[in-house]
């Protein structure tokens, strides 16, 4: 009964089928647990028999976004589209099809496998450079995954204004998860939160858990970036910035940070 009353008060904030949505990419090496993570987030129960993901696996979750944290009536509902991209090496030349117009990125690594964390740079760079490689664009060159490892430029990331979060899975099997969290250089480079979860139990994803709060903050950031922010650059500028000189870069970053602090 109480929920019925609530819903009548908030009738104007309920979400229709064509409601607003954000596209969030979930990337990482093969077998780190992306599919389990997304399944747990959307269905609230762990995935019993995970299989290798061919291509892309899609899940949808409705997220409550409060534009004003103190006002309950400012609740708005958004669809979160999770695009869980299969990490097999066999598909690396065709993955770019899914990267188009993504609004946020979840970088997943395996806490028992150090290399999966180090590969996240390659994944991030891959998403950022391949995002514009959609079909119909003439003259695109296919980048090898080896090229991604060279010189990941944090500047490209800052210019793209795409929020990111780093999630380490298999917390129950790892002994050094805390160490990795505090020393993740990638996290400091891109200013992302780092959390560690266990995708075989739902305990890390209950609303009160600190990991879930971190995730909710990330979702809020993605939604704000897409719908409420005026400082996001148009997408084509990011790649042309690759050729720009390093001398101007600190000036550009400085002016951008000034802009963002004045506009909010």
């Amino acid at each position: 009964m109480a929920s019925l009353l609530d819903s009548s008060i908030h009738a104007h904030t309920l979400i229709p089928e064509s409601g607003r949505s954000v596209k969030i990419l979930v990337v990482g090496d093969s077998e780190v647990g992306k599919t389990s993570l997304v399944h747990l987030l959307c269905h609230k129960v762990p995935l019993s028999r995970p299989l290798y993901t061919t291509g892309c696996s899609l899940e949808v979750k409705v997220h409550e976004h409060f534009s004003d944290k103190t006002d309950v009536s400012s609740r708005e509902l958004f669809y979160l589209e999770f695009w869980d991209i299969g990490g097999s090496i066999a598909y690396e030349k065709s993955r770019y099809l899914f990267y188009d117009s993504a609004d946020g990125i979840v970088l997943v690594h395996d806490l028992t496998n150090r290399n999966s964390h180090d590969n996240l740079r390659k994944w991030l760079k891959g998403v950022l450079t391949d995002r514009n490689k959609v079909q119909g664009k003439k003259g695109h060159k296919y980048t090898n995954s080896d090229d991604y490892g060279k010189g990941f430029d944090a500047e490209i990331y800052t210019n793209s204004a795409m929020p990111a979060i780093i999630i380490g899975t298999k917390k129950d099997l790892s002994r050094s998860s805390n160490e990795l969290i505090s020393h993740s250089s990638l996290a400091t480079d891109i200013n992302a939160q780092v959390i560690a979860v266990n995708c075989r139990k739902a305990s890390d994803f209950t609303p009160g858990a600190p990991e879930m709060q971190c995730l909710n903050a990330f979702f809020d950031k993605v939604i704000c970036q897409k719908y409420y922010s005026q400082t996001s650059l148009p997408r084509e500028e990011e790649i042309s910035d690759l050729g720009s000189s390093r001398r101007g870069s600190w000036l550009r970053q400085f002016t951008q940070s000034l802009n963002s602090s004045f506009s909010t």
Partner: protein
């Protein structure tokens, strides 16, 4: 005194080179094979490196023999040591550890004592099968002792020769097929775009349906106008008791989503294939691609020649007696009347040939391993696969030496013959020819089938 001094220096040099090979194997393991995994089990890495090091030592000894750098005594010592070493590794250590790892992975056996017993049983099974390999080959190695080095090497040789024959047969057919542009089906850009568009459309459909499903499952998110039932309260009660329209809709939606997801997977796999064909096409237009194309034609001509020769060999039951190097030099001297210093050229060309064979087979094997490993392995099975690959590598290298013997002039053949003892080398060559032919024919059949039948497009209404 001089002799002993020489012996010691030689042994130290060869040992130093073994350490270098071990380091190369170690680094290869870490950087290439396990590039995407974290190494938790150092023993597996050590075993792989030891096998690699011992195999490379064998090659090195042959090369040193040809160059006559080494004192004959140290050569004898080292040959025996290396052969014994690699035999023990291949027959005892690798299979035993493989069985042990397998035993640790079985979920319902947790006590270490049980695991050890099971691994010993596994090893004994392996030894039994290994021993029975002698059956189809009569009198493979004369009447040696049961556990003598010759017996073991002869069986390792059989396994390795089978492997080499199968791989060569497949390679002989596959290499021209991959590189020759004659076989590359032309794909135009429009069909690739159409396929990509279809894929993205399907993903969009899936998203729409999933959003519908989320709304159905969580009624509180729906606008009131969409609620089931006439009145709100009445509608909710009906929803609870009859499991009514809502759950039927959601079941239907779930099945629709499942079939859409299956379609999306198929479309993605087709897109991947189209992309790889396009990549091959673009590669064939580059300079390197044209070079490979030309080499492909030459290579396929050579492979046809080889297939014909092996068929003749098998039919006529003959094995070549003279090696190609001496024969070429003979032809040059006798028929073409060119004056060549036979001994010098014999040595030089043998050295070159052995060097080229050794380097290409090591490189080829390691590259194949990396590709195979990244395709096949998963986090749980990575250690097992590496051990299996180490075993194959050892057998492959030992058999390469056996087969190489036929291509070397008489003088150098003797060293291999003396080391390997009383093996019937002819049997190996005949067996190699047979396996090569069978493997090539099977690969041709498979490639023909794959080339002719196009991928069937799934129908979706």
């Amino acid at each position: 005194m001089d002799d002993i001094g020489q012996l010691v220096t030689d042994c130290l040099c060869i040992f130093a080179s073994q350490v270098v090979f071990f380091a190369i194997g170690w680094v290869f393991f870490m950087k290439q094979l396990f590039a995407n995994y974290e190494v938790h089990n150092g023993i597996v890495q050590a075993l792989f490196s030891i096998t690699f090091s011992l195999s490379c030592t064998l090659f090195e000894l042959i090369i040193l023999d040809i160059l006559s750098y080494v004192h004959y005594l140290s050569k004898e010592v080292y040959w025996t040591v290396s052969l014994t070493g690699i035999t023990i590794v291949l027959i005892v250590i690798l299979p035993m550890y493989f069985a042990y790892l397998l035993a640790t992975m079985i979920p319902f056996i947790s006590k270490p004592k049980h695991q050890r017993i099971i691994s010993v049983i596994g090893w004994l099974t392996f030894m039994y099968i290994f021993w029975k390999l002698d059956q189809p080959f009569t009198n493979l190695s004369g009447d040696g002792f049961l556990l003598s080095l010759e017996q073991c090497i002869s069986r390792i040789g059989i396994l390795g020769v089978t492997l080499i024959g199968a791989l060569s047969g497949f390679g002989a057919v596959n290499a021209p097929y991959t590189y020759m542009s004659y076989f590359i089906k032309p794909i135009d850009e429009k069909s690739i775009e159409a396929m990509e568009n279809k894929l993205l459309e399907t993903e969009k459909h899936i998203l729409v349906k999933k959003k519908k499903l989320v709304l159905l499952d969580n009624e509180s998110y729906q606008p009131i106008a969409n609620r089931s039932g006439t009145g709100q309260v009445f509608g909710r009660l009906m929803g609870y008791f009859s499991g009514g329209w809502g759950s039927q809709d959601s079941r239907q939606l779930t099945t629709e989503i499942k079939s859409l997801e299956e379609l999306a997977r198929q479309l993605f796999l087709e897109t991947v294939e189209l992309h790889s064909i396009r990549e091959r096409m673009e590669f064939s237009k580059t300079l390197k691609g044209k070079y490979f194309n030309a080499v492909g034609y030459i290579f396929s001509a050579y492979c046809c020649y080889k297939l014909i020769m092996t068929t003749i060999n098998i039919l006529l039951q003959r094995v070549g007696k003279k090696d190609p190097i001496s024969r070429t030099l003979e032809i040059m001297v006798i028929y073409l009347k060119i004056n060549v210093d036979v001994t010098f050229w014999n040595q030089f060309i043998s050295f070159l040939m052995v060097g080229v064979i050794v380097i290409t087979s090591i490189r080829g094997l390691l590259l194949t391993f990396s590709k195979l490993f990244s395709n096949v392995s998963s986090t749980r099975s990575s250690n097992l696969i590496v051990l299996f690959l180490a075993e194959i590598m050892g057998m492959y290298f030992v058999s390469t030496i056996l087969l190489m013997r036929m291509n070397l002039p008489l003088k150098y053949r003797k060293s291999i013959t003396s080391v390997f003892g009383d093996l019937q080398f002819d049997i190996y060559h005949k067996w190699f020819d047979l396996i090569f032919l069978i493997s090539a024919l099977i690969s041709m059949g498979c490639l023909y089938l794959a080339h002719k039948t196009p991928v069937e497009k799934p129908q979706y209404n």
